[in-house]
Subunit: 181 residues, 2 copies
């Protein structure tokens, strides 16, 4: 495609870097922003910039949070003996939307994937072990995706968790799991 302007070309190229958005869709989105008033684009870019630069993570469970400790970890009504280990925030959202789980979470921030160069040291595994040794956690639920990477991570964690002698369940297909089989 020959764009009539370098500015449009840059914007389309940046938009097309997002997953699931091709050049045609990117152009449609960019032209939509051009048609709407300038404030619409500025409030979109401001929301994205703020989100990326100001975001915080809960110091206990590593879930996204606006505060140092997230609402779930801070809640007095949650069952503190139960921890559900998930890949990312989307899993927490999916499980929370079922309103069936009352325990805490631990967000790994990814799964072990040698192909993408993600090893155990890139995930929040050490802090999970610290949580285990420090607090009264009695049961761990590994709610990871039913893929090769998810299985590898679950296997690795099961081995790491063994010395702590806690009950641990591998729950591959949790209700509403966005990557469920």
């Amino acid at each position: 495609m020959n764009f009539p302007s370098k500015l449009i070309e840059n914007a389309v190229e940046e938009m097309a870097k997002l997953p699931g958005i091709g050049k045609k869709t990117a152009l449609r989105l960019v032209l939509h922003l051009l048609k709407r008033e300038e404030e619409a684009t500025l409030s979109l870019t401001e929301a994205l910039t703020n989100m990326r630069t100001l975001i915080q993570y809960c110091r206990h469970c590593h879930n996204i949070s606006d505060t140092d400790v997230c609402a779930i970890c801070a809640s007095p009504t949650r069952d503190r003996s139960l921890v559900c280990v998930v890949e990312d925030t989307r899993d927490v959202l999916a499980i929370e939307n079922t309103a069936q789980y009352r325990g805490l979470y631990h967000v790994l921030g990814g799964i072990i994937s040698p192909l993408e160069g993600i090893g155990p040291s890139d995930l929040h595994i050490d802090s999970l072990l610290t949580r285990l040794s420090e607090s009264g956690i009695g049961e761990i639920i590994l709610a990871l995706s039913p893929t090769m990477e998810g299985d590898t991570t679950a296997f690795y964690l099961t081995k790491k968790l063994k010395p702590y002698n806690r009950k641990s369940n591998v729950l591959h297909h949790c209700p509403g799991h966005p990557r469920g089989r």
Copy 2:
């Protein structure tokens, strides 16, 4: 959906305002940006802000352009007796991609749509009539979308162009037209 952070919620809501992007897709895009390095988000937002605030339009044909007069209007090899009237820049891109048309364009910036409150005065129709009376245009092609609004606009333009006594063709289904039947 209960978002764990106001920053995420704002970003998702802004993204979901784009056409064809629902809340679920918006969340996926936002979490993707969070996973990538900060520069990726900043270069996206910078490209969008620059595009929206610095964009210029050709003073002859109203197409998007980085300069006062666009490359097509400035080109000495284009046929200046022929003008193709289109709705927006996407139509110019589609027709240019066929590499079959060697005339000039006139971008209306929309089509007459009473339902959306867009009347003839909101479009670049006056400047089309000025171009007609000033330059040696011999033929007008109306390449508008084959919808009710497109037909209305074509009908309105045909009536307006009549006194100028130029050859005018209504071309509803131009090759590669993104909104073609």
